[in-house]
Subunit: 198 residues, 2 copies
């Protein structure tokens, strides 16, 4: 019982990092097992197939992301721009602390349709809340009026695009250091404020 959750947890943990950073297809069960320090068979005992492991990793990652973001929202003033700030900061914080988490979102979008649908389902409640929230704030004139679904998609794409791929930003001469990432985040927030202020 004690070892039970421990081993399963450690496998899930290592798989999250490896899948998120290197890609699902690029990481073999052997590599994950080696990282955890168990036999591959042990891994296949807990997760009957690689696909099962991928699904489990996905679910736990989405959960972790959602929880972090929701907590950030609640702990902020009710000014909509402040809340958007909080969400962006929360996502960036997680991107720095555990780059694989957002990498997984990107990764899974590339996988088969069923996975994509499950991802959608997992995010659905969070997105619905966000859209409803934006709608209300826009109606009250506290945000520039626009299609809230568009704004949500835009913020989502922008934040994940930046936070997920500091490596990709090297292509435009960027250094993926924490300090530079923070500067980039500040600039992004300024952008969002300018674009969303009423």
């Amino acid at each position: 019982m004690s070892r039970r959750s421990s081993t399963r947890e450690r496998i899930l943990d290592a798989a999250t990092d490896l899948f998120g950073l290197r890609g699902v297809e690029a990481v073999s069960l052997d590599v994950i097992a080696g990282e955890v320090g168990v036999a591959k068979q042990t891994l296949l005992y807990w997760f009957p197939s690689k696909d099962d492991l991928v699904q489990a990793v996905l679910e736990s990652a989405v959960l972790e992301l959602s929880v972090g973001v929701e907590a950030a929202i609640r702990a902020t003033s009710d000014d909509p721009l402040d809340r958007i700030d909080a969400v962006v900061k929360a996502v960036f914080r997680q991107a720095v602390r555990r780059p694989a988490l957002l990498g997984l979102v990107r990764e899974i979008s590339r996988l088969s349709a069923p996975s994509g649908d499950r991802l959608h389902e997992a995010f659905e409640p969070l997105v619905a809340r966000a859209v409803g929230y934006l709608e209300r704030e826009m109606a009250q004139g506290r945000l520039r009026r626009a299609d809230p679904r568009l704004v949500a998609a835009l913020v989502y794409a922008t934040v994940t695009g930046i936070a997920t791929e500091p490596e990709a930003l090297r292509a435009v001469g960027w250094q993926p250091t924490t300090a530079d990432l923070r500067a980039l985040r500040s600039e992004l927030l300024a952008f969002l404020r300018a674009a969303l202020a009423p």
Copy 2:
């Protein structure tokens, strides 16, 4: 001579699409060869190893992207916001016409460091020009003053984030149709205008 370039070209073409859409590790040489309709050996004749093929695909993709963007810039009025519009539209156009192109950029950022460096080198001239351009326009007060490298990185990340991953946007309830992608692009342009106007 006639078949020469033809076969090589067709291999490069198919590999670009497959690598960009499914990922480099997920696509085997057999699949590419099958798609082109030649034997795997023929493929290995033109590109001695898979890695050589990847490098060649990368170079041609960057070239194609750069050419498209530069052409869009030249054919526009000299208002900086119009030019940014033109770049964004050019990238989106390419994203619709050939989704694999931008997918490759994302894909390669995940590969080994040497590839990332080569990607950087390939983009270097284009980026240097863009940064210099932004700097001049900001100095003349035609754009909001900011760190041009930051702005370049931000625009790059945003545009590729959206244009590359319509599939990922399904996670936030988005439909990756052409019409919706266009609406998203319009919203993005409004964002950029609001954020960059002086």
